[in-house]
Symmetry: C2
Subunit: 197 residues, 2 copies
């Protein structure tokens, strides 16, 4: 079973995914997908890390020449990372049960004809701001800016690489509002339901 | 248990709600809410029916004088219907287990402090067009126009009366894409899960 989770910034989608993976004994892939990607390219790691879950900026469009992989030559770091992630996610999904966080995994796997359950975790804006304020120890104004900016980046990234619309219910199997039950309880209920499928 | 269902036009949300209500033995309220509303106002029935799930059009803003209910005097038929529905939905929800389709029931009940489960049923645009073409025996072009128009009206109506954003996952407890399992299977799974809650 493969589970793909998209999430609004601050909704706890990452934590829910981790808890679900732990409870079901599934492998959990989040930012670790970037580390996995590093070995498949010769461009500087910090460039790939900066490109994670971001559409390339057409005003700062730097083209890279990858010495290792001919297919990746002449791409921006962002396009390169998406291309590597597409191969990587497809390979990992055929190896073992796992949970993928973001990185258009739902789209990549559907395109590859691999069955997956796709979820989107959302929460009201104010709840997400409050949660991130606590976690990051930032003031309200800066947190509001950060939440807006990160959602905007995720949307631009997802919409650009998939041609779909991030966070719209018809793109996912289920969308869940994590504020109703709270993050811990949502993860518990979700793991329970998925175990029955 | 009170279940409120929002739905994109053609997603089968209405059928899913009906099937869930039948399986759980709950009362089902959809367009019947307009009939229930008729007895609470003296304005012509066809005016109330025309106003169902529509925000009033500011260019065709006709004010009605309700002889029966002083509170409703001087409102548009749409505002009047929303006001009547607000009372009606709150009353019905406190009487028995039921399923409400649309009419901002999720918002009305939350505002009234009544616990409810709120769902949104979505499906990819093309699937909804195909489904409605079959049901209404209309050509593709007219169906596309109808689906777009109805979604737009529902969004305008919901957003206007609730101040929220129709079809955005954080407004609902769960959003479900009915194209994955199909309408019948979605209803079965949903009824099963709700019965366990």
């Amino acid at each position: 079973m493969i589970i793909c989770i998209g999430r609004e910034f601050g909704s706890g989608g990452h934590e829910i995914g981790k808890e679900v993976a732990d409870r079901l004994g599934f492998i959990f892939y989040d930012r670790t997908l970037v580390e996995e990607a590093l070995s498949r390219s010769t461009i500087p790691p910090e460039e790939l890390e900066r490109a994670d879950e971001k559409k390339h900026n057409p005003w700062l469009h730097r083209i890279w020449y990858d010495a290792q992989n001919e297919e990746l030559r002449g791409l921006s770091a962002n396009d390169m990372l998406f291309s590597i992630h597409s191969q990587l996610i497809t390979e990992l999904a055929s190896e073992d049960n796992c949970v993928f966080i973001g990185r258009c995994a739902d789209y990549i796997l559907q395109n590859a004809g691999i069955e997956r359950i796709s979820l989107f975790i959302a929460a009201p804006f104010q709840d997400r701001v409050k949660r991130k304020m606590g976690l990051l120890r930032m003031n309200e104004k800066s947190t509001i800016t950060l939440v807006r900016k990160t959602d905007k980046e995720r949307k631009a990234y997802y919409d650009y690489y998939t041609g779909r619309s991030w966070g719209k219910p018809h793109n996912y199997d289920f969308c869940i509002n994590s504020s109703n039950y709270g993050i811990q309880r949502t993860a518990e209920v979700l793991a329970e339901k998925l175990a029955q499928m």
